[in-house]
Symmetry: C2
Subunit: 147 residues, 2 copies
């Protein structure tokens, strides 16, 4: 990338493509991905910006790598493990290894968040029937999750 | 850290200390550091927030590791190599390896920026007389840098 990349519309950057969140699937909704910094050349991690339209959600998943997240637009309801968090603009959310997580919008605004991950990371795993049953033992979590 | 850290005042977070930028020195001015995410436990990098009071500046330095920066408060004038950039809120700045760089405020507002770095990184180097002379061959750079 160039040394300087300008924001040219709110949460859009010159030359940075607004990509599908994942290649395909029905286990997420209304979410896009922009890779703000790729790794390599002295950097072992990536900074991504995800945006979720009102009513949308990210995939319910877990993996060995951690997520370091800062909300930068709107508000989020977030599942981390069996905890439901309500996070506002500039709040920080850390998703530890092998912890089920899902981001959803909270309120009528789009939700935008930055997420730092290592370049070298494992592939996300989605919950099987047993894992879903375990999550659904918590009534609040059962009412929250989208699969 | 906890899974959820709230912003409890603009660009201040509960339980996250506002630290000196560096231990000591006169080669920087009016700048603080907050470590938003430390590495470890599935994350090989750190996310830091730096804030520069109006008229302040970061150290003029270079190192092998890269910086991935997003301006999140105010505006910056930034030296990257022999280029001077003018960056606004949400603009991105990448500092490649072994590239001299310095951040200064631009205008009367404080400047706040996020910076992602690898946990495992080398110590910054400051310019010696020869490096300074080379930088000062560019009149615009000579007028900009603070040492």
């Amino acid at each position: 990338m160039s040394e300087h990349v300008r924001q040219n519309a709110p949460f859009r950057w010159e030359g940075i493509e607004v990509k599908p969140y994942k290649a395909e699937g029905t286990h997420f909704s209304g979410i896009t991905r922009q890779v703000l910094f790729t790794g390599g050349d002295g950097l072992g991690c990536e900074l991504r910006y995800f945006e979720v339209a009102a009513g949308g959600w990210s995939s319910l998943e877990r993996h060995q790598h951690a997520h370091a997240v800062m909300i930068v637009r709107g508000r989020a309801r977030v599942l981390v493990g069996d905890r439901l968090l309500e996070a506002r603009t500039h709040d920080l959310v850390r998703v530890p290894p092998l912890t089920w997580h899902q981001f959803q919008t909270w309120g009528d605004e789009p939700l935008g968040f930055l997420c730092v991950v290592d370049c070298d990371r494992d592939v996300p795993e989605r919950p099987d029937a047993e894992a879903l049953a375990a999550l659904r033992r918590h009534p609040e979590v059962a009412a929250f999750i989208r699969t």
